[in-house]
């Protein structure tokens, strides 16, 4: 991919994500908010693809756009009854929120600009993550993160973590000669967490029987 096309795609999707996020804030209709949220999340997924995170972009599309937003739309459907779809915020609150939000945005952007990322990004070792290699073969790039991510979740690291740790200046003696740490335990914890959440959500949202007071 040429650099100009890369930059053009980035600005297109960045503007789409930002504009849709702004529309989520401004819009007063919940259903339209859900629509703008879909656009914003889809644009962020496209930005993930531009960052060479193919598996993550697909996951974002599947889980966020396909799952979470559908869940939100079901929530809108089950809770909005006719005229109550629009619950308006007062204009004064909107103005105060916009002012404070703009100030927060200024602080965040100012601090992001103020940091010199050069020493961090320049010391990137060339041979380590297959993600960052500018390979000529597009298939080598597209399959790279999926396999590496899956192995990392199984506790096996395919990239040279020690080399990277040297680049950041972390001591690597801890895992010298052994396997670098993977993500098997967090993966298991998240799995159990999802099971608990499933049971909890089903318990909370179940249809309740009305208790007859017989006393």
């Amino acid at each position: 991919m040429t650099l100009a096309l890369d930059a053009a795609l980035f600005w297109l999707f960045a503007l789409l994500a930002c504009g849709s996020a702004l529309a989520v804030v401004i819009s007063q209709n919940v259903v339209r908010m859900a629509f703008w949220l879909v656009l914003s999340l889809g644009a962020v997924a496209a930005l993930f693809f531009l960052l060479h995170a193919d598996f993550l972009g697909a996951t974002q599309l599947l889980i966020y756009v396909g799952g979470t937003v559908v869940l939100l739309v079901f929530g809108v459907m089950l809770t909005a009854t006719g005229p109550y779809v629009q619950i308006r915020t007062s204009p004064a609150e909107g103005i105060v929120g916009a002012g404070l939000g703009g100030l927060l945005l200024l602080v965040l952007c100012y601090s992001a600009v103020g940091i010199d990322w050069g020493p961090v990004t320049d010391r990137l070792p060339g041979d380590v993550p297959a993600v960052t290699q500018s390979s000529a073969d597009p298939r080598a790039q597209s399959g790279a993160t999926g396999r590496a991510l899956g192995l990392a979740f199984l506790g096996i690291r395919t990239e040279g973590l020690a080399v990277r740790a040297d680049a950041v200046g972390v001591r690597t003696d801890a895992w010298q000669g052994s396997h670098p740490p993977g993500y098997l335990l967090p993966f298991e914890i998240v799995s159990v967490h999802l099971l608990v959440v499933l049971i909890g959500a089903a318990y909370l949202a179940r249809a309740k029987r009305r208790v007859e007071s017989d006393g």
Partner: protein, 103 residues
């Protein structure tokens, strides 16, 4: 190495974060507040992936972003169940009407 550096991605992430925070703070609809939470998590995720691409953080950033996506889905499920309960008890989803939840 790339025409777009790390800073534009950080700006987009910051904008999404601020939009989500303003959305959480100003919306009176409970579902709107949830959408604000989703925007905040997405802004954070974009930062993680940008750092994974441009810094020695490497693949760890993408793994953390995956965990964030999973936790966001779990949070949305639980929060929607709570919102449905709230709606069943109050017949509205307006979060300003939740005064009687105070102890």
């Amino acid at each position: 190495m790339d025409s777009v550096g790390i800073n534009p991605y950080l700006f987009v992430g910051a904008f999404l974060f601020v939009c989500g925070v303003v959305c959480m703070a100003t919306k009176r609809n409970g579902i709107g507040v949830l959408m604000g939470v989703e925007l905040v998590l997405n802004g954070a995720n974009l930062n993680f992936v940008a750092f994974a691409r441009y810094t020695p953080l490497g693949l760890d950033g993408q793994i953390i972003a995956l965990f964030v996506i999973v936790l966001a889905a779990a949070e949305a499920a639980i929060a929607l169940a709570i919102a449905l309960n709230y709606y069943n008890n109050h017949l509205t989803i307006d979060v300003d009407r939740g005064q009687e939840l105070q102890g």
